[in-house]
Every structure is written in structure tokens, then in C-alpha cells.
């Protein structure tokens, strides 16, 4: 009975299904790549499939973490891909004009410029959404479309190649034998979790997402919170943009971060955050992003023909989303798996405990009173 209840607790944990899918995808690779899990030292750093997955998945994790916070307020940010392109383009074009591309001060200034541009984009998105009351999907569409043009303007339609060792570190370099980007991601995730779960900020964000007007009436500055999350999201995208351009030592205004907004939204959904806002799970998002990156790697290793790549990806995504649906699980596996789980889309267990099975079809809103 005790093992049974422990099993129940495990399967009802909000991260159970995303992690299960991740483990399953990793295992699928083993027959095709026998030493898939092996990690060895090559040229002074660790090398292996798992390292590659984290390295190439880092930008997506960052963008998805920013997206999670925006989605928690009931918004969405489509402009992240364009911000990725703008940041990379600005930083690389600045560095390419330096006499000494390896000078640390020049590199730091270039990165600062990129981050500054991102803050401007974030403020613009936040202004349109919070002050002008424009639908987030429309407000952020503006930079999504125009931003890529700006990035191409900065790069002159060319791919800018740079040769800077300090810049290469952030997205393609190694530190303590691990990819440096892992540390960047770890810091951003840790800070985000600390700020949202150790302070009241997380509660405020969820309150705004649950009901912006009600939260304003109880004294939360909902507009300011909204502007803040868009700036945060743009900053996350900017760091991802620095990583992507640093990874290949080149800025490609046309292709950098192309469609990353969709992958990021998908990662958030796989991680169990409701698109309706009001609750979120950073941990779930990180797992979701890893699922997407592992899926991409799996497609390359198991030799899915190129023409069917997208179909394969779609099929896996459909299965993952169905597994996330409590109603579907209740139908297929019986009520044991289905009931109650969906209510715990993430967020605080204390809140989830009060949810009933009946509230599973719609994402429950946090009550603010």
C-alpha cells in the first residue's frame, strides 16, 4: 500500500510526464548510437551526445524560461526570435569593427549593446501590452516581423564572421571541462526560480495572469509587472542570441533564432504551464526544452529521411501533448492516472492540493483575495 501511494505521488508529480518522455526519447537513441550515454574527455573538455544536447539546447532553454514568465501573466511573446537575431547581429557587427577582436572590453561592450537593444524591444512590447492594451500576440508580432528586417539591416544582408576568443566562450567555449553555456543557463534558471519562488514575485506574476484587473484592485501594480516580464523575456532571448552567434562565431540576420518562438512556446506547454496564464513551472519548461532538443538530435541520429522530419516531430509532439491531457489519460489508462493530475499544471503544491478533479478541463485560475 505504501509503495502504491508512493507510485501515485510520483505519477501525480507535475514533472512526471515531461521527464518520462525525455527519458524515453533518450533511450530510443541507444540502439542507434550504442555509446549514446558515454561522455569522454576530448581536447580538454567533455564530449558526448548528452553534452551536445545541453550545449545546443541552451539557447532554447533560456528563451523558453523567459517565455514561461510572460505566459504566466496570460501573455505571449512572439518577438523572441527577432530579438535573438538583432542581438547577435549587433554584437557581431560591433566586434567585427574592432581592431583587436580578442579585446575583452570590446567584447563586453558588444554584449552590452546587444542586451540594451533587447531591453528596448522588451520595453516596447511591455508598453504596447500593458499601457496600450493591445493583445500580446499582435503587439509582439510587430517586432517579430520588423525585427528580422532590422537584424538584416545591421548585417547588411551578409553573414558576419568574427574571430574573437572571448566572445566564442559564451556559446561555444568550455569552462571546467563543461560547455560554458551550461553555467549561463544554470545561473539564469537559478536566479529566476529564486526570484519567483523565494520572494512574492512569483505569486504576483500568477495573480496578474489569473486576473489582471482583480490583482490591480488588491494593490498589485499589474502593469508594471507585465512590462517587467516582457523586458525579462527579451533579455533571456538576448543572451540566447549571444550564445547562438557565439556558437558559430557568426551573425546570420536571416536565420538566427528562426522559429525559436514556436519551439519555446512548445517547451513551455510540454513543461505543463497553461497558456491561459495564472500558473507556471520553470522546472517543467527546462525539461520541455530538453525534450525538444533531444527530439531534434534523435531525428538526426536515427536517420529519419529529411522529407519526413517534420511529420516525425509532429507525431511525437502530439503524443506528448495527449499524455499531458488528464482527460486523455483518464480515457486510456483509467481514472487513476488521469484524475487530479492536470490541476497541478505546475506552481505551488499547496494550491494544487485544493484543486478538484472537476477543474481539470480548464486551467484553474489563482484566486487573489
Amino acid at each position: 500500500m505504501s509503495t502504491n501511494s508512493r507510485w501515485r505521488a510520483l505519477t501525480h508529480h507535475h514533472l512526471f510526464w515531461p521527464v518520462a518522455v525525455l527519458v524515453f526519447l533518450l533511450l530510443v537513441n541507444v540502439p542507434f548510437t550504442p555509446d549514446f550515454f558515454s561522455v569522454k574527455m576530448t581536447g580538454g573538455h567533455l564530449y558526448g551526445s548528452l553534452v551536445s544536447i545541453v550545449l545546443f539546447g541552451s539557447p532554447l532553454i533560456l528563451v523558453a524560461v523567459g517565455m514561461t514568465v510572460v505566459i504566466a501573466t496570460g501573455g505571449i511573446d512572439l518577438s523572441v526570435g527577432a530579438v535573438v537575431a538583432i542581438t547577435g547581429a549587433l554584437a557581431c557587427s560591433y566586434i567585427s569593427h574592432q581592431a583587436d577582436q580578442n579585446a575583452l572590453s570590446g567584447v563586453l561592450l558588444a554584449m552590452g549593446l546587444g542586451l540594451l537593444a533587447a531591453v528596448v524591444c522588451g520595453l516596447w512590447n511591455g508598453f504596447l501590452v500593458a499601457r496600450m492594451g493591445i493583445q500580446p500576440i499582435i503587439a509582439t508580432l510587430i517586432i517579430m516581423v520588423a525585427g528580422r528586417g532590422v537584424a538584416q539591416l545591421i548585417t547588411n544582408g551578409q553573414i558576419i564572421t568574427i574571430n574573437s576568443d572571448p566572445y566564442k566562450l559564451i556559446g561555444g567555449g568550455y569552462w571546467l571541462t563543461l560547455p560554458f553555456s551550461i553555467f549561463v543557463v544554470a545561473v539564469v534558471v537559478a536566479v529566476t526560480v529564486a526570484l519567483t519562488r523565494r520572494t512574492a514575485l512569483g505569486l504576483l506574476i500568477e495573480a496578474v495572469g489569473g486576473n489582471a484587473e482583480a490583482s490591480r484592485l488588491v494593490g498589485i501594480r499589474s502593469r508594471r509587472i507585465k512590462i517587467m516580464v516582457y523586458v525579462f523575456c527579451a533579455l533571456c532571448a538576448a543572451v540566447a542570441g549571444l550564445m547562438i552567434s557565439s556558437n558559430t562565431s557568426a551573425a546570420d540576420g536571416n536565420n538566427a533564432g528562426l522559429w525559436i518562438e514556436l519551439d519555446a512556446i512548445l517547451a513551455v506547454v510540454i513543461g505543463g504551464t497553461s497558456l491561459l496564464g495564472g500558473r507556471f513551472s520553470i522546472g517543467g519548461t527546462v525539461v520541455g526544452a530538453l525534450v525538444i532538443q533531444t527530439l531534434t538530435t534523435t531525428i538526426y541520429t536515427i536517420g529519419v529521411p529529411t522529407q519526413t522530419n517534420l511529420v516525425f516531430k509532429a507525431a511525437v509532439v502530439i503524443v506528448v501533448c495527449l499524455l499531458q491531457s488528464p482527460k486523455f489519460r483518464a480515457k486510456v489508462f483509467g481514472a487513476k492516472f488521469g484524475a487530479r493530475f492536470g490541476a497541478k499544471g505546475g506552481a505551488k503544491p499547496a494550491v494544487a492540493e485544493t484543486d478538484t478533479a472537476a477543474s481539470t478541463d480548464a486551467a484553474p485560475k489563482m484566486e487573489v483575495s
Binding site: 542507434f32 548510437t33 549514446f36 576530448t42 581536447g43 573538455h45 564530449y47 558526448g48 551526445s49 551536445s52 545546443f56 538584416q152 547588411n156 544582408g157 551578409q158 553573414i159 564572421t161 561555444g172 547562438i244 556558437n247 558559430t248 562565431s249 557568426a250 546570420d252 536571416n254 536565420n255 538566427a256 531534434t296 538530435t297 531525428i299 538526426y300 541520429t301 536515427i302 536517420g303 529529411t306 522529407q307 522530419n309
Partner: protein, 333 residues
């Protein structure tokens, strides 16, 4: 209310028509003065500015027109067919001598090309071809033969293998271009054609995926290839950018690009030549965007009523590592 709306619509359309008329007048006087000095006028509609290759292509067309003394009217379609069709209609209305364009897509050109034919303006295609019901709708195509580029890549690989003295089984990884794009399909087809005909026993493509013609794509796909097929000894990339990305992954895996894994790619962009001069790429098959001078030559011939070939292939060369250093300073894109 309705009246008011009608009035507004009328006012707007009158204003628009006035604007158009003004434009037409200005353009008319422009071509008139061109006719006075007897300069040949060419209307050129470019696909867009989606890549460095394309930017080089645009620059080449513009400078070649200047050199040839041709009055060039240039427009950028921003990768949209409707923009291109309206640009061509504009050229017909301006009565240019010759129209040239790089079609955004393959189909849907019959109507506008018929209008050009009715106005007796010859049409020259550049870089890419179209599918039409009536082959008399365009005079010629000036552009690359992607299938032949694939064949040339296979020939290049033969040379590279001979030079490296690699006799054993050749295990090839292929980085394909964007799925469904003509260069990706045809380069792969041409390469396979030679391989199947002459190297059935000793060459084998062990793994092949799309890297979307981008560096990031090439890098990521190659990283996965190296994990699942550690015995790869040759890489065929459909463009230089993917090869450059793949080189970074090969180095991260502790192997030497150009030695442990021989690399052949297509395009010949500046950065590709840099990599080749460092010994990291073994051979590059050129796909030349600098077709401006050839285009101007054809335009003049067509205008004079001379017969031209149906498909004028761009002048392209193949480069090995020995030639890379010498050719590097001349690479413009």
C-alpha cells in the same frame, strides 16, 4: 453614411490615380531621355536580399549594367511573387527594352509573361527557371545548373580522395540544403548519379540530413552524425555555410577537418575559401552569383534580335586547396 463612404472611396481612388499618373509621367520622361541617348533599358526584378549570395548577385547585376551602359531599372520583390508580378507589369507599362527577373517561385507566371509578349518585350530569366505552358514566353535562362554542380562535386571528391590517398571504403555524410529547394534536390541528385554509375562498390552515403543551408544547422546536424556514425570519413555539404558549421563540430569531436574527414562543398563564398586556405575544406565547387556581365551580354544580343541559347549556364570553376590561397583575395562575396 453610405454617401459619405462612397465619396471617400472616390476621393481616395482619384488621388491614387493621380499619383499613378504622376509616376507614369515621371517614368515616361525618364525612359524618353534614355531613348534619346539610345541607351538600352532593362527592367530587373530581384528575388530579395535573403543571403550573402543574393546580395553579391544584386551588386553584380547593378555594376555590370553600369559598365555596359545599360539603363537599369531595379526592383526588389522581397521574396513575394505578387511584388514581382507588379514590378514586371510596371516595366511593361514603362516600355522597357528587355525585362529580366529571378523568379521567386516556379509556377504562376503565364499571365504576366503573356502581357510582356503582347507588348513585344523579350524576357530573360536569371538564376532560377519557371514552368510555363508556352515555352515562347521567355527567351533564355542565365543561371547555374545545380544538377551539374552535384556531378562536379562528385568529380571533385574523386580528385580529393586520390590526393589524400584514401583507398578504403568511403563513408560519406551528406548535409542537404533546405528540404524541397531546387539547389538541394538537384545537387543531391547530380552527386548520386555519378556515385551510382561509377562508385557503387566503394562509395556509400551512410547518413544524410538537412542542415537548412545555415551554419548553425550544419554544426548541429554534424555533431549528431559524429555520434551515431563515428566512422564517417567524407562530408559532402550542399553549401559552404553548412560545411563551416560542420567543421566546428568536427573539431569539437577532436578530429581534424580536411584530414580525418575530407570535405567537399558547393558555392564558393568568401568564408568557404578562408576555411579551404586553412586546409579545413578540401574542395569547393563554385556556384557563381556574379552573373551580371553575362546577363548584360545576353540582354544586348536579345535586343539586337540575335539568336541565343535556351539556357546559358553561368561560368563556374572548381577549386582545390592548392588554388584556394591564390583565389581568396578575388572572392567578392
Amino acid at each position: 453614411m453610405l454617401n459619405r463612404r462612397n465619396f471617400l472611396t472616390a476621393a481616395v481612388s482619384v488621388a491614387a490615380a493621380g499619383g499613378l499618373a504622376a509616376c507614369a509621367k515621371k517614368d515616361g520622361s525618364g525612359s524618353g531621355s534614355g531613348g534619346g541617348s539610345k541607351a538600352l533599358s532593362l527592367g530587373f526584378s530581384q528575388v530579395g536580399a535573403e543571403s550573402g549570395w543574393r546580395a553579391a548577385n544584386t551588386t553584380s547585376v547593378k555594376s555590370a549594367a553600369k559598365e555596359a551602359g545599360i539603363n537599369l531599372k531595379f526592383s526588389d520583390a522581397q521574396q513575394k511573387q505578387e511584388n514581382q508580378i507588379s514590378a514586371i507589369r510596371g516595366y511593361i507599362a514603362q516600355k522597357v527594352d528587355v525585362i529580366a527577373f529571378s523568379p521567386v517561385v516556379v509556377t504562376g507566371w503565364d499571365a504576366v509573361l503573356k502581357e510582356a509578349k503582347a507588348a513585344k518585350i523579350p524576357v530573360v530569366l536569371t538564376d532560377r527557371s519557371v514552368e510555363t505552358s508556352d515555352s515562347s514566353l521567355y527567351v533564355t535562362l542565365v543561371g547555374s545548373d545545380f544538377t551539374d554542380e552535384g556531378r562536379r562535386a562528385a568529380r571533385m571528391l574523386e580528385k580529393v580522395l586520390a590526393k589524400a590517398g584514401l583507398k578504403g571504403p568511403v563513408k560519406i555524410a551528406q548535409l542537404e540544403g533546405t528540404t524541397g529547394a531546387a539547389p538541394a534536390i538537384e545537387r543531391g541528385k547530380g552527386f548520386k548519379e555519378i556515385m551510382d554509375a561509377e562508385h557503387k562498390s566503394d562509395w556509400k552515403i551512410v547518413v544524410s540530413q538537412s542542415g537548412d543551408f545555415t551554419r548553425a544547422g550544419g554544426k548541429q546536424v554534424m555533431a549528431a552524425f559524429l555520434q551515431s556514425h563515428s566512422d564517417i570519413n567524407v562530408l559532402f555539404a550542399h553549401n559552404d555555410d553548412m560545411a563551416i558549421g560542420a567543421i566546428q563540430s568536427i573539431e569539437a569531436a577532436g578530429k581534424k577537418p580536411g584530414k580525418d574527414i575530407l570535405i567537399v562543398s558547393v558555392d564558393g563564398v568568401h568564408d568557404g575559401f578562408v576555411a579551404m586556405s586553412q586546409g579545413k575544406i578540401n574542395g569547393i565547387v563554385e556556384c557563381n552569383p556574379l552573373l551580371g556581365p553575362q546577363l548584360m551580354e545576353v540582354v544586348k544580343k536579345v535586343h539586337d534580335g540575335q539568336k541565343v541559347e535556351r539556357w546559358i549556364k553561368t561560368k563556374e570553376s572548381d577549386y582545390t586547396q592548392d588554388q584556394a590561397k591564390a583565389a581568396l583575395p578575388t572572392r567578392k562575396y
